[in-house]
Amino acid sequence: MTAAAIDRLDFISARALGRAIADKKISSVEATEAAIQRLDEAHKLTHCIIAREADEALAAARIVDAAIAKGQKIGPLAGVPLAHKDMFDRVGKIASWGAKIRAEKPATRDATVIERFKSAGAIQLAALHLTEFAFGPTGHNYVLGHARNPWDPTRITGGSSAGTACAVAYGAIPAGLGSDTAGSLRLPAANCGIASIKPTWGRVSRAGAMPLAACLDALGVIARHVEDLALMLQFLAGPDPRDASAFNVAVPNYLATLDTPVAGLRVGLDEKVAGEGHGDVQAMVTAVLGVLGKAGLIKTECRFPDWTLLDHAAQAMQLPDAAAAHAHYLTTRPDDYGPQVRARLEVGHFISGVDHMTALRARGMLLQRTLNETFAKCDVAILPITADPLPTIAELDVAGSPAVQTTMARVVKFCRPISYLGLPTLTLPIPRSGKQKPGGVQIIGRPFSEPLLLRIGQAYQKLVPPEIARPVV
């Protein structure tokens, strides 16, 4: 740690900031006050805050500073200011879910992921923007207002974890929580030019998190620094008595293997699938592959199962799942939904039980086929995240029009099939220059291969360091 690094509080990683606070090079109160100021600036630009909690955060920071002064044992994130997507239960609070319809009573227990962040000593500055009920891949929210991209506020952020991505990209916070049902950790990270980890389905407990479609929902982290993804996954991952879907699978030491060499690893590209993206998006994949090649990775070919089939199976699972969760409110309070979420939830009521069950029953077979065939000759795969390069908010403002399904299908076309397969993905921002718009690609691994993905990400960031987002237009 150097004084200069501490001067760049907008850029520093959570891991480094935690060390600096523990070493008394900066107090948690100082770090938190500075983060609140940056978060307010980010909000003016991007509309990233739903609930600002500065007073509570500063009170928590003072407690951490007092504990450090007394020499008490503290967690790895003690005093580090963070903020998260507003979809997690927190004691005494009602999460907005990005919606008008909310829980009737304040939560009596924290979500497991919030408990684990608190145990690590992290401070929460605010609850951040998400698309309504986390059901939207663009950052449009017709109830609370749309999120705006910090690189160009006329453009989308991607969703649904829009606020976390904006705040991290701007440098207000080093990292924050999000969720991903069909791209919600990947799309905003890519569009805002930062990193994210969507763990294997079932790797992180979902207890106390607002469900969208439980069969697909995965909680994860958005951060600028890959080392922060590793640090945070370390205490988020693992079984939880409150969530039977959280696997009782040993949690590896993600940080310990982060700097293990990656030379010789094979990264597979399915050119047929990637070729369905805009030419600029395909160029993003080529650019990232070029960097990975410099790190010693070897490009190979791979072939995913029928991509349209995977995407349709994902929809046949997701839409009735989400529609069932909202069935009561959609029939009793339909006008309390924004037009886009309402239109998308309605579709779930038209999908037959047989089709839903077919998608569920086929999932194991298609995952096994992917492992046997797609990953037969590669260690990881690479695909685009976005289908088109950073659209404007106006271009994708389809609200609840009959075009909503096809428009959203285009936005999530590279993400939703991977969610169906339950595979972990790492979002890496593209190497950007000058006024080039941000973008990102996904590195996809076998189940529970998060250590490998994080190693690749760490090697990548040695060649393409993280950036801070500021308007480039």
């Binding site: 089939l309 199976a313 006008d335 009521h349 029953r361 399904q405 339950g422």
Partner: protein, 65 residues
């Protein structure tokens, strides 16, 4: 408080007739569900009778070992 907009009722025999939605959105939803259904019917052809929703978890766990 504005009065909720009520759309023309769907034929009671229609799927999801209980939902208050405009005719063009209902038509689009039916079309979309039909597209997904066609794909699921193709998928069902290659799916063994023994396929189980828990197969997915079994494959994931096997991979962890």
């Amino acid at each position: 408080m504005p009065k909720p907009k009520t759309f023309a009722a769907a034929d009671p025999g229609e799927p999801a007739a209980y939902l208050n939605m405009p005719a063009e959105r209902r038509a689009a939803a039916k079309l979309h569900a039909g597209t997904l259904s066609a794909t699921m019917r193709k998928l069902a052809v290659e799916l063994p009778l023994s396929a189980d929703v828990d197969d997915f978890r079994r494959v994931l766990i096997a991979e962890a070992k």
